[in-house]
Symmetry: D2
């Protein structure tokens, strides 16, 4: 048994999500960062790699160099997988090239820049047989697993209504007019794609809702707005939903909800009970029974489903957070690579991470929501 070796694309000095990916990968001690193309600027890539204790020769100037360079290295040295943490318009290129050169891939969301890339990438991934993970990290929380298991087991009955919200306030001003790096690419159609808030956080909401409920969005009616003057992409979206079992729903995401931090939350109402989960208090899952006291389920307390337990590291009352949930994606992904290295099937809960199919679904969702927002027709089918 050896550590799984990671090469990273993007995530140089000053980036936010790159550091998150590295901490998530490091947490469980099974993944080793061995190389990177951390920046489109070769000097910055080297400097970033040095700070990460990498030897100079494995700090590449471009992702192309990295993929080709690593391929040349002996098998017991070269990276096992590529982690892609660049803005949306630089997902497809490194992902496709990595796969085509035999490396597994884990990529930040959304899957890519446009729908064509998404379909093409799916084809490439499917044909390769390699492992592809997408970091819809919010599904990594133990209580999200618990909610999914409860619903799958029928605990709350037939689902009638789903309300999923993702309000943030950080783009309440024209932040892209400053040199704030995060705001700048996320509101730029050339780097983000056709959608702003919908792509950045709306897809998390869609992914969470479909993941937990096991239902599929069938129809939608969207109201998509840009509320900050001068902004080029949407910063607020409210969508009515019908799910494939007939359940009704609302999906709302916003980056102009002043004073909100990162309040992804979901409420699901079945015929027997309602569930509520909030990302900012992630270790709690509320179960609201008909005519019985509401229960507060907590990570580590009592008899949770095995899938929730499998994604919990520490005892009750020791809060696990965003990085631990993110690390669950990496951990499962790495375990699947490990299994492949050992020529065996992965353990049951280890395959529980978002895949290329979730990525394509997310891209289709983005396109359909934006279309619906512009349409005079009330309901569009997904």
């Amino acid at each position: 048994m050896r550590k799984i070796r990671m090469g990273m694309v993007g995530g140089g000095q000053g980036a936010f999500i790159g550091a998150v990916h590295r901490m998530a990968a490091a947490l469980d001690g099974q993944i080793e960062l061995v190389c990177g193309a951390f920046s489109s600027n070769p000097e910055r890539s080297k400097a970033s790699g040095k700070e990460l204790y990498l030897p100079e020769e494995r700090c590449y100037a471009t992702y192309q160099d990295m993929i080709l360079g690593e391929k040349e290295l002996p098998e017991d040295v070269r990276m096992d997988f590529v982690s892609i943490v660049t803005p949306n318009h630089v997902h497809y290129g490194p992902a496709k090239m990595a796969i085509e050169n035999g490396f597994h891939v884990i990529s930040d969301k959304p899957l890519c820049f446009n729908l064509e890339e998404a379909y093409d990438l799916k084809k490439v991934v499917d044909e390769s047989g390699l492992i592809f993970a997408l970091t819809h990290n919010y599904t990594g929380y133990p209580m999200v697993k618990q909610a999914k298991a409860m619903i799958a087991n029928g605990d709350i009955g037939t689902i009638r209504k789903v309300v999923v919200e993702y309000p943030q306030g950080w783009l309440s001003t024209f932040l892209e007019g400053t040199d704030q790096k995060q705001a700048s690419w996320r509101t730029d159609p050339a780097r983000s794609g056709i959608a702003g808030a919908i792509g950045d956080i709306g897809t998390h909401a869609e992914n969470l809702a479909e993941y937990i409920t096991g239902l599929k969005i069938e129809k939608m009616c969207a109201d998509i707005s840009t509320l900050v003057e001068g902004r080029l992409l949407d910063d607020d979206g409210n969508v009515l939903l019908h799910f494939d079992n007939g359940a009704r729903g609302i999906l709302s995401c916003s980056q102009i909800s002043a004073g909100e931090e990162n309040d992804l939350n979901i409420r699901i109402y079945g015929t027997k009970a309602g569930l509520e989960w909030r990302q900012m208090k992630p270790n709690t899952l509320w179960v609201k029974w008909l005519d019985k006291p509401t229960e507060m389920l907590r990570t580590g307390v009592g008899e949770l489903y095995p899938s929730a337990q499998a994604h919990t590291r520490i005892p009750a009352g020791h809060p696990e957070g965003y990085l631990e949930a993110f690390a669950n994606i990496y951990r499962n992904f790495a375990r699947c690579i490990q299994a492949r290295l050992e020529g065996r099937s992965p353990e049951p809960y280890d395959t529980d991470f978002p895949t290329i199919d979730d990525g394509v679904r997310g891209m289709e969702f983005i396109y359909k929501v934006i279309e619906s927002g512009k349409s005079k027709e009330k309901w569009l089918e997904m």
Copy 2:
């Protein structure tokens, strides 16, 4: 100075909202219940009146008897106003007759059974010059007043988004199939009108949103559903909104949100801050500033606006609830009658209660939402 005298229509033994109205009217000691037509069953009306310490001769068999009978009594004995606490289909009759016979009226919501009644009643009320109050009781809470004053004062800047929700779970089963009185008339088109949840609680949400923000709903796109099999009226509604200043919004109301009690809540996002208020924790108003710590405003703490202070009875930390907010409507209404008796104008905050215009607005809202729910057109104008 004397107490203001109330006659009640409806609210006999076993009724829920009648008792609420009586407690709300009694709380401040300025209103006296002097007569009633508590039930369409004369025996039950008398028995109810007796329990309320009324003399037999002022327990009337019908509201018509009451109005005519009281009119005959000497001025220093007869009732000053009529309180109407019947199901929706019995609002219009007693309200109109009371007004036409010179009595002020306070009525439960929604205003009446259909839109025609609403317009006619408005005409009658307007011509009479009498005082008409509608118990959209949730606007009676001090922190709702505070929110309204903050917005009017520009504290949160220009409003961009409003999310108002009213989830309940009590109609998650086919409760009208039992002999549950509340469920039975609320789900019956012959007594409730064209709408179920939308009329019963959706109008509270609409009223709250427009009251606090000072904005008007301009366009809407509604998804209206009946999710419990066999039910004759809607039990879930989700509505996209555009307000007259361009703000976006969502209004959601539901009586099949399993495990929810009575969770009316509103979030309003301006250019400077967001506000959040939840009816089940009514003494708290959250102010979520951009880039400053969120503040928890509380009844009785610090420098609140005068309108909030004027509707608070007891010091901070002594929770005031539903009945106190409800009583604020009665108190203001009675003070306006008092002012009229004394031939003077009411004090500024005493006129702060919902009127016939709010009632008509609510009825128009109901009709438009139901129309939108059935329409294939995306946006309907209100």
Copy 3:
């Protein structure tokens, strides 16, 4: 059946607790204020009475006048009971005189000014056979009743630990140096007695703990402090407790806990579960099971004990607050008078209010805590 007639001692213009008593008495419509000696200033008493719609002749200059005057009135006119809402040093006089003249009494807490008065008053009350209620109003909350019933029923097993806290912050400054009326008498040994915070709120904590648990405090070790310079009575007290079943406890009360409103709360730990109740969120009772999800019990939801249901007025999600709990004391007290008028025994839950014995217990508690605070001995027996 007729309304029960109340005369009030104290509670004139500007008083806080007098208005609370009147609202509590009025809420359920069964009690009528018929007379009062509202102030030691006869003019202010009359002015106060007029505002309360009383005829001039029943606004008395002194409580002595009121008691003697009312006694002369015909039985179907005169008051049934006296409500005493004066500062502590004027509890004993009117209470004793009222009882000796055949009137039932309901009095604010603590029972009286000193222990001698307390013992004497108990003798008088016991000999009279009249009804005496003390407004330890916090025991009037439905979820306090629920907690008491759960414990009595063994639901949480044997109690091992009790933590009761009553932090307030309103006396963090030398407020008695201004003309703030509430601060002035509460910090004045001549009007408050030997204790400040301990008497004003510590007794509420003691009463709540013993009421809910059914246990008695057996031993205590107190740390009593005056933390604001110049203050004459204690403003902070922390007390270690042993209960008569061997359970450990902490009682803490404070009026210098800056920024705290009125946060009376109690946590009780048994061998099977823990309970938590907080006055500022009074409709919730947390039940923390060993190895099972914590339950959130709520007024009006599911199967509560009959004593909790008997003290709830409105459905789940319609918050009841301080005045409703206070009104529960008045309601039960009035119902017991009613039963006496009708020559029958009161209904079971109607006798559930604090009595002269709770009052004596509270005075003994005050004296023992103050003694312990001064003692070098660790444990004093109660």
Copy 4:
């Protein structure tokens, strides 16, 4: 620049706190686990090391072997520091030997088995000039840093009262009667020392209170109990405190508070404001102003003190938890070693971790509390 190399004592398969230390050390990617003596059973030590991807030759049979073995290795290979994650009775031995052989040490708390060991170890550490850190991990949270900075800066005025609580419920039953590993050594005087709950969690509470306030406990009066039959050490302790500035306090810790998870919390009241922090919601710090709205400070929101910012990894609303706080201790410790390797002084916030002095203080606290619990004298000086 290179990674800092860690050797671990304890933390073999099945241990809880060892895994926590490894994740905390791994999170930031600057520390590398290079060797270990993971178990007193050599086979288990090897097996544990293998799972951690260590070469067999660096999985030692005993800590003595490890320290001596590593010392023999070339400087660019051997460990830099020893992490001690064994039960209390095996802290002193490896710590002392490591220091004496030139290795820095980070150790789990409490410092050691008894007071003599503590004093001796302090002498050894002080003379060595090596770096010694103690994992009182709760002080690693950003909002704990914020609270400390606010107080140091005078933001809440002079402190008058401190309430620190650490309730857990996991020892509510005689768990040590089963083969539960954690319960077994923690309740065993031969492995835990003279104290149970007081040593295990009471010291965390003491450390947190003194760390945040900058005050020292001067006097105490303790009530120490064993409430579960058959248990050999205390499982509940309640302590009255006087601090060196005259502030009053309560420290309460318990492992029989049924249903509590790990609810360490602290409230501090100054002349200007109160602070409240709760470990289970660690990203929130409440500031309760006198006569101003309470503020909810949050990690990553607005203008926090630099020390809070320096210990935050991710943006607001992405919850950081127990492991991140724990990692802050490791990160600072490792950065101090790094600085030493580079022959420079550490950066200002990097020295912010508990040291040998905190460890000695904690041991003195344990001994004084246990003494006070047995004493008939009310106040003991610390």
